[in-house]
């Protein structure tokens, strides 16, 4: 099954390759990975989504813990953690169909961030299922380009100790 790992690491050169190298070396495939600095600039947070069975998942987390650059690993799988992803769609939009696309974007609380002669660029955030639904709808109009950030996640305030 898919696991969401939130990994707090040192913000130093080479740490990303230590983490990804370790995961692939131990025989696992990373589905998605995001990394950016946190409120503490000496640390970064990685959100890694990885496919593994129970035994494999346990190995990955234990091995990651052994890296001196890793401070903390939280498993956000099956929790009510907040998950978000950002997507940019460049949707084919002739002037006569623009309003339909804008309407769809509004329903999904997405923003129009750029308009071209024959395209609209839409920015949307949300859970994977919401973004998948939006993508499905836009496919009907034709998607010229699509970029997803990969998931980021955070535990809810109520579940913090």
């Amino acid at each position: 099954m898919k696991h969401i790992l939130s990994v707090l690491v040192e913000n130093k050169p080479g740490v990303l390759s230590r983490v990804t190298g370790l995961v692939s070396r131990r025989g696992f495939n990373i589905d998605s990975l995001t990394v950016a600095p946190t409120e503490d600039t000496t640390m970064s947070r990685m959100t890694i989504i990885v496919e593994a069975d129970e035994v494999g998942y346990e190995q990955i987390t234990k091995q990651l813990h052994k890296l001196v650059s890793v401070y903390k690993i939280s498993d956000l799988t099956d929790t009510d953690a907040i998950e978000r992803e950002l997507v940019l769609f460049k949707v084919i939009a002739t002037p006569d169909r623009r309003h339909e696309i804008i309407e769809i974007a509004n329903i999904f609380r997405a923003n129009i961030v750029d308009v071209g002669k024959n395209s609209l660029t839409v920015e949307a955030t949300g859970t994977a299922s919401k973004l998948d639904a939006l993508e499905d709808l836009f496919r009907g109009y034709g998607i010229r380009q699509l970029t997803r950030t990969g998931k980021i996640a955070m535990s809810r305030g109520a579940s913090d100790k």
């Binding site: 080479g14 390759s17 070396r25 035994v55 190995q59 234990k62 001196v68 650059s69 890793v70």
Partner: protein, 691 residues
């Protein structure tokens, strides 16, 4: 040979200090190196070093040196940092990007530098030094090829959890990433095989980096740490302040075992009728030997040992059943298969120990004690996992057993194991595959009998001779048997012996080698002679890559693809060319006297022991087979023949087959042996003449 001895002695004793020759003029070292007291290896000294390591304090004077607070170059600060860590020996090889560090080293009166002849040799030497002494081994090399040559050595240390600090020069920061001359991304290249690594970015971090490196290398599950230092930093000035304490929030090994799990473990031990201790390298690292022996004796639990765990338990202890696994004894493997509880202490269930994992110890529950949480459940799911320092955990178990007054296990189990040991010994003296030829088992038994099992060090290369050594060399003290287990690095044992000899100069150090392995780092003969390291090489010479040859014979229909040597050098002449003393023996009658001469020599000495190519290491478990599926164990109840009870025999027959020795082959080149014998006779007379 007499002549050789004289020349070599002159060379080794040359104008430098006679007890500590430096092969290349460098600096006068007045420090502890080379004359370390034997008390350094006492139990108290070892435990004190461990306590210091865990506390985060430096191993040496730290900030309490006359260099503290002085302005100096980065290179000088590096050497000062090593002195602050109490380092007395550095193994290395200079080069362009390391030249500033070597220049600073020239002024050190505390650090002895051992010039290797290849960087791989330097790392293995530091590794042997670390394994023999329990200290951190230190390596100094240059960038590019100097650094990449260390990779095999680092990987070897990583697999066997040996503490090393490897310092590599790097090109200047300004040209990193431009494919500069001798640039290699050594931090990237070694990432999978280091415990941690640093690319130094600023001299502000220099001393802290060194303290962290020594701390990380020597604590928790030890391992190699690399520090890559751009040469411009080595030239830049800084003020030297060495930290007296370190704390790394993201690195906190667990030492104390969970009390509840300790209670559960004791409960399992109390109720088990056929328990077995499986002892690995973690016992040596954590100094748990006394505690493990106490547990074994109190509860009457037999013990099996892994390759790295060999010598953690005295071989003289009757409860010690010795080597287990692919070339373990039949009785040890039977004990694993029949036991109903395995207490694994600092062992990682390597495939060379377990054989087919689904059939490994099928009746056993498992208590797994390891300081590395990732080892627990990696291969075998334990009923009771205990993460912690082996010594602390086993001591807690002993304490709890004493408190609850547990009864020892019924002696039926131990007697059963002893019965198996009597029936299937490793070897019996009245047994010989080739009566007129030298049996390696006998050579190693004799060697073992002549060595002080407490105060000598035996290292091995990798292959058949390694397994014979594991089976037949008797050890009483931990850190006296050194072998590359996890990585199985040919070319490790000889440099490791040099490192061990330099770390423990008062010990007899013998490297048991094969004719394949020895050629992988044979250039280190110069290192030994040049540094007055009087190591001995016992070369088990079958003119082939014996272990692979054996597999080809047993499992590949005798298709000897690329395993029979056709151009081996004359090892005696080769050794003599390096200034060593050497001789060759080919007949069983020569063994005793030759071993005596080798051990008595005050010079580095090579003894080339010619054995038949087809000599096989038995018993053996075929790769992928269960460990009770044993080929070629000697059964004394059948009059001392090698028996294969199930599975495949060497001849491809099945259960009940007898493993007959194969005839001598062309590769044994009778001419080579005949010629060699003539040489030996001539040599012997020359020697007598000399006396």
């Amino acid at each position: 040979m007499t002549d050789t001895t004289t020349t070599a002695a002159v060379r080794a004793g040359s104008p430098r200090t006679p007890d500590m020759p430096d092969d290349i003029r460098q600096h006068v070292c007045t420090g502890a190196a080379g004359k370390r007291a034997a008390t350094d290896m006492s139990r108290e000294a070892r435990l004190e070093r461990k306590r210091r390591a865990i506390s985060g304090e430096p191993f040496g004077p730290g900030s309490h040196t006359d260099k503290e607070g002085k302005t100096m170059t980065g290179a000088q600060a590096i050497i000062a940092s090593l002195e602050a860590e109490g380092v007395d020996t550095v193994f290395g090889y200079p080069g362009g990007q390391a030249i500033k560090m070597y220049d600073a080293l020239y002024d050190s009166t505390k650090i002895r530098h051992i010039l290797a002849r290849h960087e791989q040799g330097a790392v293995h030497e530091a590794d042997g030094y670390a394994r023999a002494t329990g200290r951190v081994g230190v390596v100094l090399v240059t960038s590019g090829p100097g650094a990449t040559n260390t990779v095999t050595g680092i990987a070897t240390a990583y697999m066997d959890s040996v503490p090393l600090v490897v310092i590599s020069g790097q090109v200047t920061r300004g040209v990193i990433g431009t494919d500069a001359f001798q640039e290699a991304d050594i931090v990237g290249i070694t990432m999978p095989v280091v415990k941690h690594s640093f690319l130094l970015q600023s001299n502000d971090d220099l001393t802290r980096t060194f303290r962290e490196a020594f701390y990380i290398a020597s604590t928790g599950r030890p391992g190699p740490v690399l520090i890559d230092i751009p040469s411009d930093l080595a030239g830049e000035e800084m003020v030297f302040h060495y930290p007296d304490k370190i704390d790394i929030p993201s690195y906190r090994p667990t030492y104390k075992g969970n009390a509840k799990q300790v209670r559960q473990a004791v409960e399992l031990i109390r109720t088990s009728t056929r328990p077995l201790l499986m002892v690995g390298g973690g016992c040596v690292t954590s100094h748990a030997c006394d505690e493990v022996v106490e547990l074994a004796e109190t509860m009457q639990i037999p013990v099996v040992t892994t390759l790295i765990g060999k010598a953690a338990i005295p071989c003289s202890n009757p409860l010690n059943l010795g080597p287990v696994g692919m070339h373990g004894s039949k009785y040890a493997n039977m004990a694993v298969t029949e036991c109903n509880l395995i207490i694994a202490v600092g062992a990682r269930f390597s495939d060379r120990v377990t054989g087919k994992i689904t059939e490994f110890a099928p009746h056993a529950k498992v208590i797994h004690i390891d300081i590395d949480p990732a080892e627990i459940g990696k291969v075998r799911d334990p009923q009771v996992p205990i993460v912690g320092d082996a010594r602390a955990v086993v001591a807690a178990i002993n304490e709890r057993i004493a408190k609850t007054g547990a009864e020892p296990v019924s002696d039926e189990w131990v007697k059963t194991c002893y019965g198996w040991r009597e029936r299937w010994p490793f070897y019996t003296t009245d047994f010989a595959d080739y009566p007129d030829r030298i049996a390696p088992e006998i050579v190693l038994e004799r060697l073992s009998a002549k060595l002080d099992p407490h105060a000598s060090v035996v290292t091995t290369e990798v292959g058949q001779h390694q397994m014979w050594a594991h089976q037949h060399v008797h050890r009483e003290e931990s850190r006296t048997f050194i072998s590359s287990g996890g990585l199985g690095t040919m070319g490790f044992g000889f440099p490791a012996a040099i490192g061990a000899k330099i770390g423990r100069p008062d010990c007899q150090v013998v490297c048991i080698a094969g004719d394949g392995s020895i050629q992988m780092n044979i250039q280190e003969m110069a290192t030994a002679i040049g540094n007055g390291a009087a190591v001995k090489i016992l070369l088990i010479d079958n003119n082939a890559l014996g272990m692979v040859h054996q597999w080809q014979r047993l499992f590949y229909r005798e298709r000897y693809s690329c395993t029979e040597f056709t151009a081996n050098p004359d090892f005696v002449k080769l050794a003599e060319a390096y200034g060593w003393t050497a001789e060759r023996i080919t007949h069983p009658d020569q063994i005793d006297d030759a071993l005596d001469r080798m051990l008595a020599s005050e010079m580095p000495y090579l003894l080339d022991v010619v054995i038949p190519t087809n000599q096989t290491v038995y018993p053996m478990v075929a790769p992928g087979a269960a460990i009770d599926d044993i080929i070629g164990a000697i059964d004394v109840t059948l009059g001392g023949v090698r028996v294969t009870e199930k599975g495949m025999s060497p001849a491809g027959e099945h259960a009940g087959a007898i493993a007959e020795p194969l005839p001598l082959t062309d590769n044994d080149a009778d001419t080579r042996i005949a010629g060699a014998t003539a040489d030996v006779v001539a040599d012997e007379s020359a020697q007598k003449g000399g006396e």
